[in-house]
Symmetry: C2
Subunit: 173 residues, 2 copies
């Protein structure tokens, strides 16, 4: 028994983004219940030199999308970073999930030892094998941005718990 590269990546990316969507829905409902516009979340930051909520969502999506594309050795669609509303950020997550659903697992499997070169910061790259890239870059990067988005919502008083992040809609089941 062992784990395939596709099963260790695609469903994990999909679950993380699906649970993120669940957290965004709860945040939207919470804003409505507390009587403010959910769009105020879009530009919130945890520190003045950290990226705002909108960027956390965009990069979470891109971590899954570009991570999958690199693992599969295919081109990912490029999304403009032009969302200005909470609804547009939700749409970006949905669009990313829609694309992930089109990637055949077979395009990823067998690429455990493939050399994957990816950008790190502005003018540097790193190269890792497919397996190392998934485990030591793509997954921690995705969870970093999903968790930071969660932390921003919690910091702003949204009624989320960790199981919303871990289990999504099953959290309340």
């Amino acid at each position: 028994m062992s784990i395939t590269l596709s099963s260790a990546s695609l469903p994990v990316f999909q679950t993380a983004l699906t649970n993120l969507l669940h957290c965004l829905s709860k945040a939207e409902a919470n804003a409505a219940a507390r009587g403010f516009d959910a769009n105020v979340f879009v530009q919130t930051r945890l520190a003045p030199d950290m990226l705002p909520f909108a960027a956390q969502i965009r990069i979470a999506c891109d971590a899954a999308k570009n991570g999958t594309a690199r693992l599969a050795g295919i081109e990912a669609p490029r999304f403009e970073d032009n969302e200005t509303t909470f609804a547009e950020l939700q749409a970006r997550v949905r669009k990313t999930l829609d694309w992930l659903a089109t990637v055949p697992a077979a395009s990823i499997d067998g690429r455990e030892e493939a050399a994957i070169t990816f950008p790190v910061g502005r003018d540097k790259t790193r190269t890792m094998t497919g397996e190392a890239y998934l485990k030591h870059w793509a997954l921690p990067n995705l969870f970093f941005h999903v968790t930071t988005a969660y932390a921003l919502l919690r910091h702003n008083g949204v009624n989320l718990g960790k199981t919303d992040y871990l289990a999504g809609e099953q959290a309340s089941a």
Copy 2:
């Protein structure tokens, strides 16, 4: 080619905690440079109803320790949750890494389909296969707490960047 359950878990847990230690060292140096006691980080929170920094570190350690023990079907050592200083929290991460280094990969491999039952909140449990438990609970749970600790440090002005979290000491290389 495929990935083993041990190689998809142990080194990922170890890297995450090693990089966390790197972030803690930078936070300690940053506190010294800014002229305050690093122990003030211990009780900081991102929201009044979120767990403080100390708990984020403890649970990050336990996510790796208990996650590994469940995957391996062995007993994990139990650590008291009694750290009150920044240095004690660093020691807890080191103690966890020391224990992880003693777990043979062979005790984890082959348990992909093993039923793993684990606590969820106070009086509930869930059961997943070893593979699903790793991918959909243990890993996201570990990264959640490591990232929240990172976010707390950043929120308090510590000079960390994402590559400190992703690459640890190699971040500045």
